[in-house]
């Protein structure tokens, strides 16, 4: 009885809040945006920004420079001009000139351009095909039964062997080389994605989603693929240098791009006889190749680390 007046007092201090349905659904948590966190984690390390700028500049330069240099492996304008042969690197000839009077600078960038185009385009196609097939493969048990048999057969094939035979059969050229790489590699990506999908397919949130009647395709695109972003980026960061390596390897053996295309692999194989006489001719393409591959790989790895939500703070 004594407390009553007190209660009356307190009641006066409060007033009834209006019931807001929208507000009641809101969960008060710090705002988290995935891509913003990725960006923040990516720029946290001091090396990445300059390195990324370097890589972008390198790639753009390799893509644009050959358009203006007018270099083509089929023509040798200075072949009869002995003053232009075997020049050492200087201000006018940045990387010097080679045995037929071509600017090594132009040769190297034209080769780098083709290597980069081949590896980027094939990586894109391989990843798109591999992810789509792999996601379906991981989801459908019926498909799994057949695809696993296909995989068992295909994975047994020594892939370099197949790459060599395919490029022998299809002939030399950018398109056929890309086709060869896609043919060989897509199933490995698909298998990798299938395993990843299988791991998260049966998690509770997916069960719930399924019970609520989400379509399989929506589930793959909305529930599962975002989960795979960091895994996929990791894969891509390894794939691009690997495919550059393949292109160089095949062209070195005379099987990749034909003689009508500039290629770092063939350039290295042509220049290797000048290793003792004119070492700059040989070492420049080798080092440019190493620089491109290693910087692409490191930036890719950093990006892959940043896309992993576990590294977000």
């Amino acid at each position: 009885m004594m407390e009553r007046p007190m209660e009356d007092n307190l009641d006066n201090l409060f007033e009834f809040a209006e019931f807001d349905e929208k507000e009641s659904e809101h969960i008060a948590a710090p705002r988290y945006s995935y891509w913003k966190s990725v960006w923040r984690t990516f720029v946290r390390s001091k090396v990445t920004i300059p390195l990324t700028i370097f890589v972008i500049a390198l790639v753009l330069f390799a893509l644009i420079q050959p358009m203006y240099s007018g270099y083509s492996p089929t023509v040798a304008p200075n072949i009869n001009n002995s003053d232009m042969k075997y020049l050492s690197p200087s201000r006018e000839h940045i990387f010097g000139t080679d045995n037929i009077g071509n600017e090594v600078w132009d040769v190297v960038w034209a080769g780098a351009r083709n290597s980069i185009i081949v590896s980027f385009v094939s990586t894109t196609i391989i990843m798109v095909v591999g992810i789509l097939v792999g996601a379906l493969w991981g989801f459908s048990k019926k498909m799994d039964k057949w695809m696993i048999e296909v995989y068992n057969v295909v994975s047994n094939v020594p892939y370099l062997l197949l790459a060599m035979i395919l490029s022998y059969v299809l002939g030399a050229g950018l398109g056929s080389l890309i086709f060869v790489m896609v043919c060989i590699d897509w199933i490995f990506v698909a298998y990798f994605i299938r395993t990843q999908v299988m791991i998260i397919r049966d998690r509770e949130y997916n069960m719930a989603s399924k019970c609520l009647g989400t379509k399989t395709f929506t589930m793959i695109v909305k529930n599962i693929l975002p989960y795979l972003v960091s895994v996929i980026v990791t894969y891509i960061s390894r794939e691009i240098p690997l495919l550059i390596s393949y292109e160089v390897f095949l062209s070195y053996l005379g099987l990749g791009l034909g003689t009508n295309y500039a290629s770092l692999g063939r350039t290295i194989s042509q220049y290797k006889s000048f290793m003792t006489g004119y070492p700059h001719l040989f070492w420049i393409p080798v080092l440019v190749l190493a620089a491109i591959a290693i910087s692409l790989y490191v930036v890719g790895q950093k990006l892959a680390d940043a896309t992993d939500p576990r590294t977000h703070r």
Binding site: V153, N156, V169, I244, S245, G265, A290, I294
Partner: protein, 499 residues
């Protein structure tokens, strides 16, 4: 259950190989223009001025390689008339009645009939379907030697028997007569000391490079210059020769020299040469590279895991990043440059040849570099995983020393997945290291396939594909079986144990 599983896997491996072969046959024999095979053929070039001989040569070569069946009017008429007779001479003329019969007969069989450009005589050919060609290849693959193999109409009195005896060099031998090989099983002083010729693999005759040699003997017979020594032949004749008595095979037409040396018709032989075969060279290089890789990669990987985020770990990661990102072509040249300038090692294999140890060092190191990096990466991953597991914490709590935990528990568990890869790595030794061998000009298996492809040697391409894919398929299977032996917890039947 277990045995059933292995049988199933073997069956699947065989199917894999057949499918691979089907793909390769289709690719090589239908998509590559068949004229390409003559690009590297010297005989073909010499026949430029004689169109009829050229046509003849082209079709005979195609027939030999299994592209098509080829008949010309001469062969058709030989069945009716005697060679060199006047009927024969008339019958092969372009307007004879035999020619008309020939055209009718072969067109009804589905052949395409054509005429030589100069003599205007007729010939016919018919493409062999792909499956038939593949079937022929597989059915001729395994050759079993027996006493009725040799059918020589000029030598009807050939004895047909098998008996024990000795080779001219004194080894024990099972000798056959009527068989293709004289010595079916024999012993000598060459590795592997006991040899057999009863079951041989026949993958066709190499063309256009290594002409006249069987595809397999190109890979397996010794290279270099002949090693001559004083030998006593079967007739008692002595002389200096590099003959390998074990390789004697039947020869139909003996010449004077053969009769002087041999008592019977077995007079075809191969010779001993001073360098190991292509397979042998690749294998020696591969084995040592493998030993080096395991010898360095394993301890280094463990050390990296034990000093996680320490100096060794950082250094190791730097190496791994370098090897995985830089194309092998670039880093092999870089390491070769370091090796030649700092240690004065030869930069190509052929400078000192295979008999000098220095020739081997750089190729072996170059070959080991990528394996070291992947071994380091994986063993580090496995050891780190094991170090965080509950049983290790438990062992630590029970008071086991760090050393004891590592050697008796962690390393044992971490090495299981590593063991899985050993057969595949061994198989890789045989298939060769293409880039390494190309850079150092090593006469091994690595250069075989690129060379075969560049020279349009389809027989060799098919043979190499078969060999390589069989080896790799079987080594994966062997790896899985070893895995279950090393770690009894793993069962291949319940969960697919494939990596």
């Amino acid at each position: 259950m277990k045995r059933g599983y292995i049988l199933k896997r073997l069956l699947r491996s065989v199917i894999s190989i057949v499918i691979i072969m089907l793909v390769v046959f289709t690719l090589v024999y239908t998509l590559v223009p068949r004229d390409n095979i003559f690009f590297e053929d010297a005989t073909y070039r010499k026949l430029g001025g004689k169109p009829d001989d050229k046509t003849d040569y082209v079709y005979n070569t195609w027939m030999k390689l299994g592209y098509l069946d080829f008949v010309k009017i001469n062969d058709y008429c030989l069945e009716r008339y005697e060679a060199g007779s006047s009927e024969m001479q008339n019958a092969i003329q372009p307007d004879s009645k035999e020619t008309a019969e020939f055209i009718e007969h072969y067109e009804s069989l589905g052949y395409t009939v054509q005429r030589y450009t100069v003599s205007n005589r007729v010939y016919a050919y018919k493409d062999r379907p792909l499956f038939q060609r593949m079937w022929n290849w597989f059915s001729n693959l395994i050759q079993i030697d027996h006493v009725n193999r040799v059918q020589d109409p000029n030598n009807p009195d050939l004895e047909r028997k098998i008996y024990f005896g000795r080779t001219p060099t004194g080894g024990l031998a099972l000798i056959g007569s009527g068989t293709i090989h004289k010595y079916l099983i024999y012993t000598d002083s060459h590795f592997p000391f006991i040899h057999q010729n009863i079951i041989t693999l026949n993958m066709g005759e190499s063309y256009p490079t290594y002409q006249g040699l069987e595809a397999l003997s190109v890979m397996f017979s010794s290279q270099g210059t002949e090693v001559k020594r004083d030998v006593t032949f079967e007739t008692g004749e002595t002389g200096s020769s590099a003959i390998n008595f074990g390789s004697l095979t039947y020869k139909e037409n003996l010449d004077r020299m053969d009769r002087k040396k041999f008592v019977d018709h077995y007079a075809n032989y191969t010779t001993f040469k001073d360098q190991t075969s292509m397979v042998g060279t690749s294998f020696i290089m591969g084995i040592f590279a493998l030993l080096l890789a395991y010898g360095i990669g394993l301890p280094f990987g463990v050390a990296m895991a034990r000093n996680k985020d320490g100096l060794i770990d950082k250094f190791g990661m730097l190496y791994i990043i370098f090897i995985t990102s830089v194309p092998s072509l670039a880093y092999i040249y870089i390491f070769r440059y370091l090796g030649t300038t700092w240690f004065g090692l030869p930069n190509v294999f052929t400078t000192f040849g295979p008999s000098d140890l220095r020739s081997w060092i750089l190729p072996i190191i170059s070959l080991a570099l990528p394996s070291i990096s992947s071994l380091m990466l994986w063993i580090r991953r496995y050891v780190v995983d094991q170090m965080n597991s509950d049983y290790v914490k438990f062992a630590k709590a029970k008071g086991l020393s760090r050393k004891e935990i590592f050697s008796r528990h962690i390393f044992k568990n971490a090495s299981i997945p590593i063991v899985h890869g050993i057969p595949s790595s061994l198989a890789g030794c045989i298939t060769g290291a293409i880039i390494t061998e190309a850079i150092y000009s090593v006469g091994g298996m690595g250069k075989m396939l690129p060379n075969a492809i560049n020279q349009y040697n389809n027989v060799m391409i098919v043979a190499l594909t078969f060999l390589f894919s069989t080896i790799s398929v079987l080594s994966v299977l062997l790896g899985d079986i070893i895995l279950t032996k090393v770690d009894p917890r793993i069962s291949l039947t319940e969960k697919a144990g494939r990596s």
